[in-house]
Symmetry: C2
Subunit: 209 residues, 2 copies
């Protein structure tokens, strides 16, 4: 499969923000004992800052509490399609991705922490943070929030059909794109008691979109 393809690197804010705002799960990379660790986790963007969170007991989140913070790489990827070319080599993947290099630091300001926790809920389900019980003191104490500034950021977008070698064009193999689609299904209530409760508009909007 081809890697020197028509990927286009983009650094403009609008492209970076659009890709980040289209998702809510990132892959967070950090170094532990000299070796890489990559974990999936929720994220939220507010302005030029990303937030992730976790248990205050977890090792990376404790490390980020040091004054120097924790070096991280945050990667967000949307897969849009498999690109099938005449040749195995020119197969590719249509996708949008953002890679953020930076230093994660624990957020200690209570107001910023509260906004970040709301943003983490709203990134996945816009409007939800206003429709649930906020964290109480015990829950807040158990949750660490990390911030990573969007300073060293790059985006990549690959779209469109296959690149072909001219001499391959007459080969009989089908070529084109197999789209990959992500969508929300119909909300499933937690139990019979919830089943009679109307589904909130912010959820039906997502399930429809």
């Amino acid at each position: 499969m081809c890697i020197r393809d028509r990927h286009r690197a983009r650094w403009d804010r609008a492209s970076v923000h659009a890709i980040l705002d289209a998702g809510w799960i990132c892959h967070l990379g950090f170094v532990r004992d000299g070796r890489p660790v990559v974990l999936p986790t929720l994220y939220a963007r507010r302005g030029e800052r990303l937030y992730v969170h976790g248990s205050t007991g977890s090792r990376p989140l404790r490390a980020a509490g040091n004054p120097e913070g924790l070096p991280v790489c945050v990667t967000v990827t949307h897969v849009d399609g498999v690109v099938l070319a005449k040749s195995a080599f020119h197969h590719s993947v249509n996708h949008r991705s953002v890679v953020v290099h930076g230093t994660a630091r624990q957020v200690t300001d209570p107001a910023e922490r509260a906004r970040a926790l709301d943003a983490l809920v709203d990134q996945a389900v816009p409007g939800r943070s206003a429709d649930c019980r906020p964290a109480n003191a015990r829950e807040a104490a158990a949750t660490a929030v990390l911030a990573i500034d969007l300073t060293e950021v790059s985006a990549k977008v690959r779209e469109g059909g296959p690149n072909e070698e001219p001499e391959d064009l007459s080969l009989p193999h089908w070529s084109g794109v197999l789209p990959v689609l992500t969508a929300h299904g119909v909300p499933v209530p937690a139990d019979e008691r919830e089943a009679v409760r109307p589904v909130p508009a912010y959820l039906t909007a997502l399930a429809r979109g």
Copy 2:
């Protein structure tokens, strides 16, 4: 959002293989100049080994050519739903993920390389490697294939509805799961010439599934 949730860690081969076989894009983590790097890339599983590939000119792939190999973390994540609880804290994500820690080494055996390249195509579109032109010598020389053995592997699965604090159950907020679905769309031919070519059965099968 809750992180000490009903996630279940699984180490049995069948669970690990099922999660790996359900995907074809991983997030590959490695350390460069002491800092973490996380990149999305294709992968394939064959037995107890993962394969990734890339340009022979790329830095991580060159590093993996050293006798000691390149320490990596390969993470595969499938997101199945957003879990909406009465409290912000107990919001969660239904997902299946596998984290592989290991050392990536360049595959030099020609037969293993060829099988790995076929597997990389077939992981995304089963059956496709038999229906495209194989790599020629120049393309093969430009492609590095890395292997990572599935020795240090863990899987996590979170499924089902929200966990709630008993005192939250009477709150009016809707609770349940918003499913997240991934599917293939209708194949899009590369151009007008391809549009008259019948879509292969292995693609229509995916688009239907």
